[in-house]
């Protein structure tokens, strides 16, 4: 690459980073502004304050925010775990075994993934109230699985397909049962794929708003995105902008930590050297 070309890449890269990070930077700056500052149209707060954070973590809004944070974590982690586990078996079957209806399963998964959530929320609301799942953790975990499973199955079956068939056959010849071959050879090799899938699934569940606002009514199961929408200002005439910004920053942090933590695992090309080089 010539120097000229490299400079262009650097300039373009900085441009993209600015474009992507500016709204986030704005929210961060917003979260440190005092209420009087919020509409002043300046990027930096005139007075730097932790007021908004104390409001959501210990103040009036904490009753709404903290249980929601717990709910979000619990529900999203359980949904991610379940969808990864189920998707692992499903994807293995899709990638390895020949059975009738394989195409139908994959296309159904895709259809579910692109199905508009908003159109099933109302019937689901009624159904959940009838069978007592309304405003409970399982009541959100189940619809979240419908969001996370299709994408998990698709990404994982792509990963499984990458693992050479011979790995497993070699294990079988070496004396492994199908289950041993799966557990001792396929799962370790698929680990980067599973992590990638888990992150994607977690984000999908974490970002959901429609199910969260529609299928909950109290702090028993309400997730953070829904809780943010219910924040209210100090008075009727005041917007809770600062508090929402602070809460948004707080819920973004786990996502960033997740990506930084798993990044190495995703990038590590574990199958390197498995076959001829």
């Amino acid at each position: 690459m010539s120097t000229r070309e490299r400079n262009w890449w650097i300039v373009a890269g900085i441009g993209i980073i600015l474009y992507a990070l500016f709204p986030i930077a704005w929210i961060v700056s917003l979260s440190f502004k005092a209420p009087a500052d919020i509409a002043n149209g300046q990027f930096l707060p005139t007075v730097f304050t932790w007021e908004n954070y104390s409001l959501i973590l210990t103040g009036d809004a904490s009753e709404l925010f903290l249980p929601a944070l717990l709910n979000s974590f619990g529900i999203c982690l359980i949904a991610t775990f379940l969808s990864c586990l189920l998707a692992m078996f499903a994807a293995y079957a899709i990638a390895r075994l020949d059975f009738p209806g394989k195409k139908i399963i994959l296309s159904t998964a895709l259809a579910v993934a692109i199905f508009p959530v908003i159109s099933i929320v109302t019937p689901l609301f009624n159904l959940w109230r009838q069978i007592g799942l309304y405003d409970t953790w399982p009541g959100l975990i189940i619809p979240y699985l419908s969001l996370t499973l299709p994408i998990s199955i698709w990404t994982m079956s792509a990963f499984f397909r990458e693992i050479p068939w011979e790995m497993e056959q070699a294990a079988q010849v070496d004396g492994a049962t199908t289950w041993q071959a799966f557990r001792k050879v396929i799962v370790p090799l698929a680990a980067p794929g599973v992590f990638t899938t888990a992150i994607i699934a977690f984000f999908l569940a974490w970002n959901d708003f429609v199910y969260g606002i529609s299928l909950t009514s109290t702090g028993a199961a309400r997730p953070v995105p829904a809780a943010l929408g219910l924040f209210s200002g100090a008075s009727q005439f005041e917007d809770p902008t600062g508090a929402i910004a602070a809460a948004a920053v707080v819920v973004t942090i786990p996502v960033i930590i997740l990506v930084l933590f798993f990044q190495r695992r995703i990038v590590a090309g574990l199958t390197n050297g498995a076959v001829k080089g």
Binding site: P164, M167, Q169, A170, V173, L189, L270, T271, A274, V275
Partner: protein, 413 residues
Amino acid sequence: MASIEMRNIVKKYGDGFPAVNDVSLDIADGEFMILVGPSGCGKSTLLRMIVGLEDITSGDMVIGGTRVNDKAPRDRNLSMVFQNYALYPHLSVYENIAFPLRLQNAPDDEVRKRVTEAADVLELHEHLDRKPANLSGGQRQRVAMGRAIVRAADAFLFDEPLSNLDAKLRGQMRTEIARLQRRLGITTVYVTHDQTEAMTLGDRVCVLRKGLIQQVASPRELYEQPVNLFVAGFIGSPPMNFLPATVSGSSLETPFGTIELDERRAKAVEGKELVLVGIRPEYFEDASLVDEAKRPLGSVFTARVDVTEWLGDSQYAYIPYDAPEDVTLQLKELSRELDSDQLRTQAIVSIDATSRIREGREAEFWLDSRKVHVFDPETGDNLTRDADAGAELTRMAAQDRVEQVEQARQKAG
């Protein structure tokens, strides 16, 4: 250790195409058997049926006296080296080799002892802690072999194990495998499409074509007494030349002059009109370099040389010739089947490296007619095959083999 017997093995895929068709083959205990043939001949399928990775449509697979058709791969106690090695990338070399033992829940000290032994044999000691990704091709190959020998398996199966290595390493590993097999004396089935590997490694070689066994014999017998056009064309490099010829009495009229046949062979071709004469490149020589004493044993002809290839120790000349349309078509068909696309009818002739024959000139060649074979162009059968002489060659090879194994065991014991 065990013998492997195949009785009327058939493998049909979903579309009814028989990839392996009625194969019966006995592999003796301790024997090194090669399955060879062009791509798509069913050799790998046959190997995978032995190990149990492929279902058997019909027939019996008997290993060590027990029928194993319905046994899972892990119950057959065979070990296999895959074409791409199939090492476990997440495990160290040590754990890769130990893997079969770990599955048997062998105690740690035994695992250590056996892995160390295997590493000794394959000189892998300094690599035991490394991951397969950090090894070279040859080292990976050795790890794969280590994983195969660490367990007391009844037989070794190799599926084109050297095809991913470069030519030099391939030669080294070939001798390595031969030495290992002699030393361990374990029944081995080795699949390859490389006829050099087939000739050098095998006690016996099984030539397959479109799922059918063509000939099972020692490399020498395959070379000197091939059963048909296919085997004759497949074994030998450069391949045997096939010239169209018309029979007149006890002699053959070929594009390269008349070839006189001895009594036995003359009788065999009696009643035929058009035949194919199979002549190996080394049966030719630059006429000016032939010993006077040898000269009457063959015939001399003049031809124009198209291309010469000088390789230092040997030299090849390419001589184009004309053949009738249908023979040309048949030869093209054959060469396509043998995975080589020969475009023109030409003879490849091996001449002495010192020969001064040059491209584009007329030159005199001498042809040793003692060993030529005559093939029926319709059926491809070898009309002049001497079955007794062939069997004798294979018997001698078997005897050599017994002595070798005996020696190896004495040395080891």
